[in-house]
Amino acid sequence: MAWQVTSNISGGQRYTAATQEQYAFAAAALDEQAQALFALASSWSAAALQLHSRRTGTICPVLSGAAPQSSGHAPLPYDQLARCSYAQSARCHSLAQELNMLASLIARAHSLYSQAENTARSMLSKTVHAGASLAPGYAAAAFGALAAGGALSSSLESGQFNATGALTSTAGVQEGMLSSVSGYINALGMRPGTGVGRAAGILAQASSRINDSMQGNMLIVREKHARTPVIYESHDIAGALTNLRTLGTQRASTGTSSGLDYGTIAIQRYRDAKGNISWLVTIPGTDGKADSPFGWPQNLEVMSENPQQRMNTDGARMVLKAMAQTGIGPTEPVALVGHSQGGIIAAAIASDMQKRYRIEHVVTAGSPVANHPVPKKTWMTSIEIEDELVAALDGAANPVSPTWLTIRGRVQQAAGTPALLHADGTCSPGTSPSDNPFSATEVEDASDDREISHHLQYHQAAYRNASDLGSPALQRHEEHFRRIVGGTLEATGYWQGRVHHGPAVAPLQHGEMNTIGPRKP
């Protein structure tokens, strides 16, 4: 079973109001024509039925032989007229569908309904938040019922236990529920008010101590040399995402031909025709290894509303150390691209290190970064999947601004897939193909069964679909990113982080191994 992603875009720079009005007018006009043609199709179809009825139900005494012959009693060619009427109905319906599809294409490409969609989503989140705050028990039960229903649905579809449907069925209420839960945590932590960042910070105060006692807080950062090329020169966001995914797959602790493994980031140096240097930092997501700076507990810390807490995270410390060791200058443009925790770290660095580095563009995939105080001068390109849950952990929608563009992907079964007969005799229905190649983009390397859409290939498909639409806002973001990585790649450095107990170790050689002491209290 193939899977595909349909993307919607919000934020970013648009054309002038007059041009936007042109798009809106064109979409509305096409939609209006489509509705008129749908109605006509119904009317022609009804007319055909009535013609049939008149042909069979009309009794003429002359034609039936009951009265003398006289002219003027010849019947209409009802059969031919009915066939023509059916043909007109089908043609009207087909044309209506076409115009409807084209109206939808304009709307998606130019984000015509993004404001309304964002407003609706925000209202739903606030309603869920309010409901959960007033009646938490009922809200939890309702959420559980939704999740259970979704899990049951996905299990039945795949013929085995598969709970990913729970994420899909609760996608619309995740932000509101998380926002409500954060309120409770904040109250318990004696810091009333909403905000997932505050709640994350409260929880992280405990989790970080526990983690430090288990993992240690002595961070070692060393430069690694890949035996084989891992990531390559990239000049656009799609290329950067491909490199991000490749780097993430090196997290297997053994068996990679490159010699790289988990807890590894990449820093690439570009030089343009004028000799200006710029940088691209690639940060994979949580690997969950016991001695990795990108472990599970670190997610809470880097989501905190407290800047010091954020920058004290093992992952953030590691990336900053690597950037310093690489020699990135304070005036040299830097782009950061990260998946999941990697994206959160990227947004945190952009928020908290703006005086130290010139972070010009951040690309995040599946990262809950809505609450990070990213300065307006830093362009954000955020890619989220509706039901991946992780991106909703911030309990809020991303800001909508000329410099913050968000691509939201919705996963569905790919069109044109055949029905599947499972070994136990159950079957999954197939779908008919869509004749609009831009309605969705297929996910590469997706599992046949419904899986968690937090995997990076889903975000890649979402970006490709959005990019194919030719959205002016996305094109501007792409151009802005390309200006940073438009030069020639000069060098790629890989940096690995490990966390353990023990005293600080003196660096052996400059640039080869560095140890960062315990985190600041």
């Binding site: 096409l30 013609l51 007109q88 044309l95 076409e98 490409a109």
Partner: protein, 129 residues
């Protein structure tokens, strides 16, 4: 067989029933026939006498219904072509934009087919008898 003009048929029908204003719109291009235009195959006297016959009532209802539908479809087709032409000129580049304009052109052709089918229906109605 007498050759009857549209005017005489219309007069005859009007004598027995309210005349149908949709007769004019049934013709190709919606043009109004002059009093000298001709429809073969129908006898005015027979039509007048058969005006109240069930088959003629059914025929008239069918004429009216299809005439209205044809006129509405012609208007919708014209508007669809006009909308397609205007939409094609919006500022938009890329593969999706190219696809959009190609499909708009295809839609205009389908709209033209609607008009052709309208014409065929009108001919069938006129040839009935």
């Amino acid at each position: 067989m007498h050759i009857i003009t549209i005017d005489s048929i219309r007069t005859g029908i009007s004598a027995a029933q309210n005349s149908s204003p949709s007769w004019n719109a049934m013709l190709p291009g919606g043009a109004v026939l002059s009093g000298n235009a001709r429809l073969p195959g129908l006898s005015a006297a027979a039509l007048v006498s058969a005006a109240a016959c069930p088959c003629q009532i059914a025929a008239r209802h069918s004429y009216d219904q299809l005439a209205v539908l044809a006129r509405t479809t012609a208007q919708a087709s014209e508007q669809a072509r006009s909308t397609a032409a205007r939409s094609s000129s919006i500022e938009w580049d890329g593969a999706a934009a190219t696809f959009f304009r190609e499909r708009l052109n295809a839609s205009a052709r389908v709209a033209a087919q609607l008009d052709e089918q309208n014409h065929d229906i009108q001919l069938l109605l006129c040839m009935g008898g």
